[in-house]
C-alpha cells in the first residue's frame, strides 16, 4: 500500500485557477476599468499588502507591532526625497527603498526587541512617533506641513495622466503579488515551518532547536522592507506627503489590524477576506463617518472574543479547506 503526502487539495487547485484568472483580469484593468475604479483597486492592493505583512509579523511571528506606519511613512518620505533630489524614475527607486527599509529596521529592531509582548507593541509605536517628529523637522521636504511631488517628477513617471495612473497601479499589483508569493514561499520553506511552529507553541518550538529570536528578527526585517516599498507606492499614488498622513497610526496600522483580525489572523487567506470585507464595508458605510470606525472596532472586539481565528478560521475549521496549500496531508 502506498501512502502519499500532499499539500494540494481540490480547493487549493480551484483557488489557484480562480486566482490566476483574477490576476489576468486585474492586469488588464486599465483597459476596462474607469479612473475611480482603478484607483480603488490600487488602494485595495496596497492595503492587502499591508495586511499580509502585518499578519506575517503578528499572526505568525507573534510580533504585535502597532508601529508599522513608521515604515510606510519612511518609504513614502524616501521616495519623495530621492525622486526630488536625484533625477531617477520614481518606480525604479522602489526596490532601493525596500533595501533601505531593511537597513533602518535592523537598528530599530535591535532596540524594540528588548521589549516583549504588549510592551513591544507600544515600543514600535514610539519609534513611529520618532520618525514622524523627525520628518516634521526636515524643512526641505516641507517640515510639518509636508510637500507635493513636483510636476517634473510626476511627468517623469509618464507624460499622460492615464499612463501614469496605470503604471502606479501595475506597480501596486506587482508588489502585492510579490508579497503574497513571498509569504507563501516563506511559509512553505524551512524558515516558514519554524515560524508556524513558533505560532503554535513558542516553548515547544524552541525545545526542538528553532532559533526563535533569529527567525523573528528575519521576519521583522523582511516585513519592514516590503512595508517601506508599499509606503513608497501609497504616496506615489497620492502625490502628496505630510508627516501626519505618512505616519498615521489609524490609516496604516489600526485599519490593517482590523482587516487581519476580522479576516483571520495566522492564515494567508485571512488578510484577503479581511481586505475584501473592509473595502465592501468602507464603500457602503463610509458616509457614517465616526460611526463606521466604531462599528469596525466593535466587530473586531467581538471577533477576537468569539472567534479568535476570524472569518477564515471559522470557515476552514468548519469545512476543512485551505486555499494556499501549506499544511501537509496524508492521502
Amino acid at each position: 500500500m502506498s501512502v502519499t503526502v500532499t499539500r494540494r487539495s481540490n480547493a487549493s487547485t480551484i483557488f489557484l485557477i480562480v486566482a490566476l484568472l483574477a490576476v489576468v483580469l486585474f492586469v488588464a484593468a486599465p483597459w476596462w476599468a474607469g479612473r475611480a475604479e482603478l484607483r480603488l483597486f490600487g488602494e485595495f492592493f496596497l492595503y492587502l499588502g499591508l495586511a499580509c505583512l502585518w499578519n506575517l509579523l503578528a499572526g505568525y511571528a507573534g510580533l504585535v507591532s502597532v508601529g508599522q506606519q513608521a515604515y510606510v511613512g519612511f518609504g513614502g518620505y524616501l521616495l519623495f526625497a530621492l525622486a526630488i533630489h536625484f533625477n531617477v524614475h520614481p518606480l525604479l527607486i522602489v526596490p532601493v527603498i525596500a533595501l533601505l527599509g531593511a537597513a533602518i529596521s535592523v537598528p530599530v529592531g535591535l532596540l524594540v526587541f528588548r521589549l516583549h509582548g504588549a510592551y513591544f507593541a507600544i515600543g514600535t509605536w514610539v519609534v513611529a512617533e520618532v520618525f514622524r517628529l523627525s520628518a516634521a523637522q526636515i524643512t526641505i521636504l516641507g517640515g510639518g506641513s509636508g510637500t507635493s511631488l513636483p510636476v517634473s517628477v510626476v511627468k517623469s513617471i509618464a507624460q499622460s495622466r492615464s499612463d501614469r495612473e496605470s503604471y502606479v497601479y501595475w506597480a501596486a499589483l506587482f508588489l502585492v503579488l510579490l508579497i503574497v508569493s513571498i509569504s507563501f514561499a516563506f511559509l512553505r520553506s524551512r524558515q516558514g515551518l519554524a515560524l508556524t511552529a513558533i505560532r503554535d507553541n513558542e516553548q515547544a518550538a524552541e525545545s526542538l532547536g528553532i532559533n526563535i529570536s533569529r527567525t523573528k528578527f528575519l521576519v521583522y526585517v523582511l516585513t519592514a522592507a516590503l512595508t517601506a516599498a508599499l509606503g513608497a507606492l501609497i504616496f506615489l499614488q497620492k502625490l502628496r506627503i505630510s508627516p501626519d498622513a505618512a505616519f498615521n497610526v489609524n490609516d496604516w496600522t489600526a485599519f490593517v489590524i482590523f482587516i487581519v483580525v476580522i479576516g483571520g489572523i495566522g492564515t494567508l487567506e485571512g488578510p484577503i477576506i479581511g481586505t475584501l470585507l473592509f473595502f465592501l464595508l468602507r464603500e457602503s458605510l463610509a458616509d457614517l463617518g465616526t460611526f463606521y470606525l466604531m462599528i469596525l472596532g466593535v466587530v473586531a472586539i467581538v471577533i477576537m472574543i468569539r472567534a479568535p481565528r476570524g472569518i477564515w478560521g471559522f470557515i476552514s475549521n468548519k469545512f476543512g479547506i485551505e486555499l494556499f496549500p501549506i499544511t501537509r496531508r496524508v492521502l
Binding site: 507573534g62 504585535v64 504588549a118 510592551y119 507600544i122 514610539v126 520618532v130 516634521a136 477576537m304
Partner: protein, 287 residues
C-alpha cells in the same frame, strides 16, 4: 537661571506623567495586561470632568468626587464583562481588544464632543504661583506633583499593607493558586482595573486643567505613561515617578533648544534608556 527653571518645570510636569503611568503600571503588575486604551480613558475622564463642571458649575478638583467613582465603576465593568474574557497565555486578544476599545472611545468622544480642543477652567489656580528666589513655581503644577506623590504612596501602601493589596500580589504571583486559596480572580482583576481607572480619572482631570485636550489626545498620553513606566523600571511604582520626571525634564530641555524637539527629546531619552538599561533604571528586584 533659565535652565534651572526649565528643570524645575520639567520635574513638576513629570508628576503628571507619573499619574499617567501609575494606572498602567498597576494593571500590568496585577494581571500582565497592557491597556492600549489607557490614554483614551484619560481623555475620557477629562471630558467627563468637562461635562460635570459645565453642568453643575463646580471646580474641576471638586468634580473629582464624581469622576473618580464613575471611572472606577467603568473600570470594574470593563474588566469584569469584557477584558476578563481575553485573559490567558496569549497576549494577542487583550492587546487587540484594548486597541479596538481605543478606536471606539476616540470616535465616540469625537461624535459627542466634536474635535474642538477643550480645557477645564480652574479659575485663579491656573495662574497662581510661588516665587522662590528667581524661580516661579506654578501652584497647579506643584499640586499635580504633590498629588502624584500622594497617589503613588497610597498605591504602595495599598499594595503592601492591606488585604486587597495582598490579594493583588497573590493574584499577580499565581492567579490560579490564588483562586484555589479562595480569591475570586475575576473580581480581583475587576478591582485592579477599577483602581487603575480611579488613577486615570485623577490624571484626566489634571491633564484637562493643565492643557487643552481633544478626542485624539489619548495615544500621546498612553505613550508618555508607557515611557515613564519603562524608564523607571517595570513593576516599580516609585520608579514611574522618576521615569515621569526624566521624561518631563528631557522634554523641557528639548523644547528650550528647539520648540519642535520637545516630544522628540522625550522619546530619545526613552530610547536611550532602552538601549543602555533595557530593564529600566530601577527594575523591581526579582524574587
Amino acid at each position: 537661571m533659565d535652565w534651572i527653571n526649565i528643570i524645575v518645570q520639567g520635574i513638576l510636569i513629570g508628576g503628571l506623567y507619573a499619574l499617567f503611568a501609575a494606572g498602567l503600571s498597576l494593571i500590568f503588575g496585577v494581571m500582565r495586561l497592557v491597556n492600549i486604551a489607557h490614554g483614551d480613558l484619560i481623555v475620557l475622564a477629562a471630558f467627563l470632568g468637562l461635562t460635570v463642571t459645565a453642568s453643575i458649575g463646580i471646580h474641576p478638583l471638586t468634580a473629582l468626587l464624581i469622576v473618580v467613582p464613575i471611572m472606577a465603576m467603568v473600570g470594574y465593568a470593563l474588566q469584569y464583562l469584557l477584558l476578563n474574557r481575553t485573559m490567558g497565555d496569549d497576549i494577542l486578544p487583550p492587546l487587540l481588544v484594548t486597541f479596538g476599545l481605543s478606536v471606539i472611545i476616540q470616535n465616540a468622544l469625537l461624535e459627542v464632543y466634536s474635535a474642538d480642543p477643550q480645557k477645564l477652567q480652574s479659575g485663579p489656580l491656573e495662574t497662581a504661583s510661588i516665587s522662590i528666589g528667581s524661580i516661579n513655581i506654578g501652584v497647579l503644577p506643584l499640586l499635580m506633583f504633590v498629588v502624584a506623590i500622594a497617589v503613588i504612596g497610597g498605591l504602595q501602601w495599598l499594595f503592601y499593607k492591606t488585604a486587597i493589596g495582598r490579594a493583588f500580589r497573590a493574584t499577580s504571583d499565581n492567579a490560579d493558586i490564588a483562586q484555589l486559596m479562595g480569591l475570586n480572580k475575576a473580581h480581583v482583576f475587576g478591582l485592579a482595573m477599577a483602581l487603575s481607572l480611579s488613577v486615570v480619572a485623577i490624571a484626566g482631570i489634571f491633564l484637562g486643567m493643565r492643557t487643552a485636550f481633544d478626542p485624539a489626545s489619548g495615544p500621546a498620553r498612553l505613550i508618555f505613561g508607557f515611557e515613564a513606566v519603562i524608564i523607571g523600571g517595570l513593576g516599580n511604582l516609585w520608579g514611574t515617578l522618576i521615569g515621569g520626571v526624566i521624561l518631563g525634564v528631557a522634554q523641557g530641555i528639548g523644547a528650550k533648544i528647539n520648540p519642535g524637539w520637545q516630544l522628540l527629546a522625550g522619546h530619545c531619552a526613552f530610547l536611550l534608556v532602552l538601549a543602555i538599561r533595557p530593564k529600566g533604571l530601577f527594575p523591581r528586584v526579582e524574587h
